[in-house]
């Protein structure tokens, strides 16, 4: 599976999560990924921003259960490596 395929699979997993929980987590992370690419952020900046997005989701009570937070955390942890190859 290529890095792109893996990323798409992760986004699909998030989309299912959003469907089940009526949230927009996938859209928010996708927006962040687009910004990372178009603004040429460094890998470190990308990692930090993705972590910040997770914190804001917790602040807004979009993610409350530990298992949900772990799911998004696991995806966020993979994204910088996939984006920067």
């Amino acid at each position: 599976m290529t890095a792109q395929d893996e990323l798409q699979a992760l986004i699909a997993q998030l989309a299912y999560f959003d469907h089940e929980n009526h949230t927009d987590v996938a859209e928010e992370l996708t927006d962040t990924v687009v910004v990372i690419r178009t603004e040429n952020l460094t890998q470190d900046e990308a990692r930090e921003l993705l972590e910040d997005r997770l914190e804001m989701m917790k602040l807004n009570s979009i993610l409350e259960k530990d298992e949900d937070i772990r799911l998004v955390q696991s995806i966020i942890s993979k994204l910088p490596g996939l984006l920067f190859g």
Partner: protein, 128 residues
């Protein structure tokens, strides 16, 4: 006469607890200021004054978070305050080590702005 004064003192001290609302205008104002300062600090991103601007944002967040943290009232606000502190501190510390990209600076300050608004909105719901 003395009994009347004593009675009024007792009644008034009792009324203090009855009239207390859970809305704290000082706390609300702190977070509104954080939002305002963060929003306008973004204009400095990519310019030499950015380091000072983000330091001011971090100080304002630190003040607001300290106030919220010292209150006994709301652990949820305390959690939000801690998140905001981490965001602001990270940006300030990053500027001490390097010059982040303009986009990163603006995105970070936008998150602080939005987060502070969120906390202020939560606090305003207690207003009676």
């Amino acid at each position: 006469m003395r009994a009347a004064v004593l009675l009024s003192v007792v009644l008034l001290s009792g009324c203090a607890s009855l009239s207390t609302t859970s809305f704290d205008a000082v706390e609300y104002n702190h977070w509104v200021q954080v939002s305002h300062i963060a929003k306008h600090a973004a204009d400095a991103c990519g310019k030499p004054e950015a380091t000072v601007a983000v330091s001011i944002v971090a100080q304002q967040v630190e003040l607001a978070a300290l106030y919220s943290d010292l209150k006994i009232a709301n652990p949820q606000i305390g959690k939000g305050a801690a998140i905001m502190s981490n965001l602001a501190t990270e940006l300030r510390d990053r500027y001490l080590k390097e010059t982040p990209s303009t986009a990163y600076c603006k995105l970070k300050l936008e998150l602080i702005d939005v987060g502070a608004r969120r906390i202020a909105e939560s606090l305003s719901k207690k207003e009676t």
